[in-house]
């Protein structure tokens, strides 16, 4: 009986995924035909979301999360290691199903990864066997775009890498690979862009340039962005809203409205409000980190 129910549910999930893929493909064809503007931003809502990897659903990684992210917002999750930032991103993306609660993108329940939402990982996830243009064209091709190569070139131009279209990813630097990954993620015109420490593996200078590039891209393409980072300055620079997360179990500790006030890096460094906010966030994260460190059974875990 249970097996039959599971089979039915799996079938339903597969149909839902196929339907969403069709919708995304239709949307992309509409964008190509000029019937629709690119990157309609979507609302993301999390209702009482908890995630536990234990079979008895104890020891939740994320617990009781209630959150609404508005269309076009740039939201950043900050917090100590292990507080569930990446887990949360995976839940929003549909890579992990929540143990309890629901995630919706524009009122559609998230049950599996769909092209309405796309992700940029910390470590480059480019397909190393494909040339740069083929990597970027993969999404449009999968969704039935009439000119995937042209679409890929358009997004490569946007990230300034059109002259590397025929190169293999292995020949590019770390920063260039992440730019290709961003172009690839944007090429399906996602409504929500998830970014899991996308600049975490880059050196300081490249990271700074990439942050500026991302801001520039946001001006031309404006999906809802959900960003995960450890870097407070990066969060303040890029975000409209910052969520500081608590650890054990992961959840929201504090919501900070940055409202894009700190987008001019050179001006904010001497700004008193910026420095106070930065210090406040660092204190919050430190408190959570110490909480994890001082857990009595930390060594036994």
């Amino acid at each position: 009986m249970r097996a039959a129910v599971m089979t039915l549910l799996r079938g339903r999930k597969a149909r839902l995924t196929a339907d969403r893929r069709f919708e995304a493909g239709q949307r992309l064809r509409d964008i190509a035909a000029g019937r629709l503007s690119a990157c309609r931003a979507a609302k993301v809502s999390l209702h009482d979301v908890s995630v536990s990897f234990a079979p008895d659903r104890s020891a939740a990684v994320v617990s009781g999360l209630e959150l609404t992210i508005l269309p076009g917002e740039f939201v950043t999750f900050l917090g100590p290691s292990g507080c569930g930032k990446t887990t949360l991103l995976n839940v929003i993306g549909g890579m992990i199903l929540p143990t309890t609660g629901k995630v919706r993108i524009n009122d559609a329940l998230v049950t599996a990864p769909t092209p309405m939402c796309n992700i940029v990982f910390q470590q480059h996830s480019l397909f190393e066997w494909m040339r740069v243009a083929d990597n970027v064209a993969f999404g449009p091709r999968a969704l039935g775009h009439p000119d995937p190569r042209g679409e890929a070139m358009r997004f490569l131009h946007l990230v300034g890498l059109e002259e590397h279209a025929d190169a293999y990813p292995v020949t590019l630097s770390g920063g260039m690979r992440q730019r290709v990954a961003i172009a690839r993620a944007l090429a399906t015109s996602p409504s929500v862009l998830l970014m899991d420490e996308p600049f975490g593996a880059l050196d300081a200078q490249t990271r700074s340039i990439m942050q500026e590039e991302l801001l520039k891209l946001r001006r031309s393409i404006a999906p809802t962005v959900i960003f995960v980072t450890h870097d407070v300055d990066e969060a303040l620079l890029l975000s409209d809203r910052i969520f500081v997360m608590r650890a054990m179990p992961g959840g929201l500790k504090e919501e900070i409205a940055a409202d894009g006030m700190f987008r001019h890096k050179e001006k904010v460094l001497r700004n008193g409000k910026y420095r106070a906010l930065r210090q406040h966030i660092l204190t919050q994260i430190r408190e959570e980190t110490l909480k994890v460190f001082n857990r009595p059974n930390r060594m036994q875990r």
Binding site: A18, R21, A24, G25, G93, M95, A112, P113, T114, P115, C117, N118, I119, F121, Q123, S125, F127, E128, W129, M130, F138, G139, R141, A142, L143, A167, Y168, P169, V170, T171, L172, S173, R184, A185, T188, P190
Partner: protein
């Protein structure tokens, strides 16, 4: 050939030019010292034997017979091993069903199958096909299986987010992720079947390089035996080089540098 390939060729080639005459010199000195062409014929004698065997066409016929057996066995092995390994990598019930069998069968050397192969297929080409296929099967299978389970979750997730359906996923993600391992398996498998064909022909065939070596050993024609051995070595090296060249076309991204 790219620049690094050319420079590698030009740095290694002079050493080859040096090592070959050195080997011939040592061989010649050893043959003079032994002074018995049955125990160790001189390089001159072997060269004369090679010309003679090429001249009467028997060596070419033996090479053709051996190559046909190697490629047939290799083709059978790769046709069976690659799909089976990939299916086992992707479907857990198949893995649980077949992996214990593979674990038991794999350590049995191909030579141990020769008596059964003769009983089942008689003498001639068929037992050789069976032995060469068996020798190639396991390296191809194990490497393809490793490739199948080596697919990176981040590639799978990225492809799903990009809207890849099942067919696109299999063709562009699972197969391409496994391809470097599959290729390594094919390279090792071809080498193994080449070694196995000689073993099989020594016992279970009436043509081919292995049979030619065996027949000439009985007739104490050691120079013909050595000719056969050298041809085997040269053909093996040729196959390895050819596969190395093909790799540049099959896995071009592996030859790119930052």
């Amino acid at each position: 050939m790219n620049r690094s390939g050319i420079s590698r060729f030009f740095t290694s080639f002079p050493w080859f030019l040096l090592s070959l005459p050195a080997l011939l010199l040592v061989w010649r000195l050893a043959a003079d010292r032994v002074d018995n062409p049955v125990l160790l014929p001189s390089p001159n004698l072997v060269a004369e034997s090679a010309l003679e065997l090429f001249g009467d066409g028997s060596l070419v016929a033996d090479i053709k017979a051996s190559l046909q057996r190697v490629f047939t066995g290799f083709f059978i092995a790769s046709t069976l091993a690659v799909p089976l390994a990939l299916l086992m990598a992707y479907f857990l019930p198949l893995r649980q069903l077949f992996l214990p069998l593979v674990t038991i069968l794999r350590p049995i050397p191909p030579i141990a199958w020769i008596p059964l192969a003769i009983l089942w297929f008689g003498l001639g080409d068929k037992p050789s096909y069976f032995i060469t296929a068996l020798a190639a099967f396991f390296p191809i299978f194990l490497n393809a299986f490793a490739g199948g389970i080596d697919v990176q979750p981040r590639h799978v997730h990225a492809a799903r987010f990009l809207g890849a359906g099942r067919w696109l996923m299999v063709r562009h993600i699972y197969l391409m992720s496994a391809l470097p391992h599959v290729w390594t398996g094919l390279r090792i498998g071809l080498g193994q079947s080449w070694m196995a064909v000689v073993t099989a022909e020594l016992i279970a065939a009436q043509s081919g390089l292995g049979y030619m070596i065996q027949a000439n050993r009985i007739n104490l024609e050691t120079q013909h035996v050595l000719t056969g051995m050298i041809v085997i070595g040269m053909l093996g090296a040729l196959m390895t080089t050819a596969l190395g060249w093909c790799e540049r076309f099959v896995l071009p991204w592996k030859f790119q540098r930052q």
